[in-house]
């Protein structure tokens, strides 16, 4: 008896809680299940399964009264190649690209200045960028509507200055949509670029100058290549929400500028052609995933 006690003291008088603790410690699988389980379950039930249903719907037919009748068909995808819808697709990608380029042109020098400003200012400047960003997206879009309206502040000011005699039509144009997208997603461009410029070792600039490079050469050959990860991250972060934007074209495009998300909305809520709406959703998803893959591919090849 005494010998048994001596050899296996750890087996003495353990409560069920200790036993449970030991089981969790010793079995990594059990631990993983307990930790990963809730998230996995939620994701499976409320993301993966719904997405799978949409995928299945995209091959179905529209039934009477907007119902879905099961049948395997590619007609929804074929239908997308109608010029009417291809145009929506092209407009979306074009406006998203335009937004990305404009954000880059504004955001890069902006991030550069913040990163090179005195340390005390940097955080304050970043917070100033973030404040409008943390404001409700709808509120911000609405604020832009106020400015762009034919009786809005900009038109009033221009008329008062005598530069124009009739109000300019700015609202419900592609211009308004791009403006809204830039306004909404500019911080997504600024922040990653800022992070990469801030990490950049500026003695490299002195080294390049020492070797005879002028300001432009320093920018193109040293600064830009080394801050490219930030540029790429910013671009993908702006492009993805832009190409799938719904609120901005809905409010600032006012039905005159239709992007993919508006088409999806229309098919689901107005026309009630869910299978076609599902197919369009998967086209949008394909664009986004392709952009993401491209981003990772470029990121991999550029890794030093």
């Amino acid at each position: 008896m005494a010998i048994v006690e001596r050899i296996r003291p750890s087996e003495r008088s353990r409560s069920w809680r200790e036993r449970l603790g030991d089981a969790i410690r010793q079995h990594e699988g059990l631990r993983a299940l307990l930790l990963a389980g809730p998230g996995g379950l939620w994701l499976l039930l409320f993301f993966l399964l719904p997405t799978a249903i949409v995928f299945a719907y995209s091959f179905a037919r529209r039934g009477p009264y907007g119902t879905v009748s099961w049948a395997f068909t590619l007609e929804n995808y074929v239908r997308f190649f109608d010029w009417l819808y291809i145009r929506v697709f092209l407009v979306s990608v074009w406006l998203a690209l335009l937004t990305t380029v404009i954000c880059l042109l504004i955001g890069y020098p902006f991030a550069f200045v913040i990163a090179r400003s005195p340390r005390r200012w940097r955080n304050a400047l970043l917070v100033l960028v973030l404040i409008p960003f943390w404001t409700n997206f709808l509120v911000r879009t609405y604020a832009i509507m106020l400015l762009l309206r034919s009786d809005g502040l900009i038109n009033n000011a221009l008329q008062w200055l005598g530069l124009i005699d009739r109000p300019l039509t700015m609202l419900f144009t592609p211009f308004a949509v791009v403006l809204g997208l830039v306004y909404g997603y500019l911080p997504f461009m600024i922040l990653p670029i800022y992070a990469s410029i801030e990490k950049f070792d500026f003695t490299l600039v002195e080294a390049a100058q020492d070797l005879g490079a002028d300001t432009w050469q320093v920018f193109w050959r040293v600064l830009l290549p080394l801050t490219l990860p930030g540029v790429l991250a910013g671009s993908i972060l702006v492009f993805i929400p832009s190409v799938g934007a719904f609120v901005t074209p809905d409010l600032l495009g006012g039905g005159k500028v239709v992007m993919i998300a508006n088409l999806i909305n229309q098919q689901f809520l107005t026309v009630r052609h869910w299978p076609f709406g599902s197919a369009v959703s998967f086209v949008l998803m394909a664009i986004v995933l392709a952009a993401t893959m491209l981003y990772f591919r470029i990121g991999e090849t550029r890794r030093i």
């Binding site: 943390w134 709808l138 509507m145």
Partner: protein
């Protein structure tokens, strides 16, 4: 010797000339800030405008705010928004933190797949997730009705479930970043001093992870209270949230009461952001 050393050290720190290039760069910063702030400032100012027509300033008034306070629809929408945001934040913070622990601390067979799937809600366009959930709830409600006679409908429940689904991966990303920097010898020290796994988590891991968890929770709260698209597609009768209320009013025509409501929401988010920044700074010192 010392003198030369000092001067050579100081030499590179020459005064920055405000060259034409820098002037242009600062001009860009300045005009960007004007661009970022002009719309919301104008909106806020006009929320105090006495005129119903908004093109001209007709004097200061608080009427629109008074009207908003007494507006039953706004009150209900605000309540809905808060309830949804609080529940969604609570659940997604817990699930997100567990997920972060799973990703950073355990190995399992389908981990790469799990990790990849976890990022999907972050990159998939909102509209796609919105209609996917719409379709899913629709289908499952009709099945539940057919099989069990269970009558379920779109409402606060569906919105909250949807919000958790897109929030918790964000929480997981934020907490995971903090967890990746975690000095694990601290946990070993705790175990060495007699703390069992639960005590180690409770007294060492959790307190040190707290800044990350709070940051994640704030993000989840903001995502939920700001969300329009997914809420729009998964709302039901009586479950209007503030963004939905604003959208409805904007679609009907622009009136100053929307300005007042938007300004209040703007102010609330500024307070929230500055408050959380101040909180983080206080913890950091």
């Amino acid at each position: 010797m010392t003198a030369t050393a000092t001067t050579s050290l100081q030499a590179p720190r020459r005064k920055r000339r405000l060259s034409a290039g820098w002037a242009l760069l600062w001009l860009n910063v300045l005009s960007t800030f004007v661009f970022l702030y002009a719309p919301i400032v104008v909106m806020s100012i006009f929320s105090f405008n006495a005129s119903r027509q908004m093109q001209v300033w007709m004097g200061f008034t608080l009427d629109w705010y008074a009207r908003m306070v007494h507006d039953e629809r706004v009150r209900v929408a605000a309540e809905n928004s808060l309830v949804i945001a609080l529940v969604s934040t609570l659940v997604s913070t817990v699930i997100g933190t567990l997920t972060a622990m799973a990703l950073e601390r355990t190995r399992f067979r389908v981990k790469r797949l799990y990790e990849g799937a976890m990022y999907l809600p972050i990159i998939v366009p909102e509209i796609v997730m919105a209609i996917a959930l719409l379709v899913f709830f629709n289908l499952s409600f009709s099945w539940l009705d057919r099989l069990f006679g269970l009558q379920l409908n779109f409402g606060l429940g569906t919105i909250t479930i949807a919000h958790i689904a897109f929030s918790f991966p964000f929480v997981a990303v934020v907490v995971r970043a903090r967890l990746a920097d975690f000095d694990r010898t601290l946990e070993q020290a705790a175990q060495d001093l007699g703390a069992n796994d639960w005590q180690t988590f409770r007294y060492v891991t959790l307190p040190l992870l707290m800044p990350g968890i709070i940051a994640g929770a704030l993000l989840a709260f903001t995502l939920s209270i700001d969300d329009f698209v997914i809420t729009f597609f998964n709302a039901g009768v009586g479950s209007t949230t503030l963004p939905l209320e604003i959208y409805g009013r904007v679609r009907r025509g622009i009136t100053p009461d929307v300005n007042a409501l938007s300004t209040v929401m703007l102010l609330a988010s500024i307070v929230l952001v500055l408050g959380s920044l101040a909180f983080q700074r206080r913890r950091a010192t």
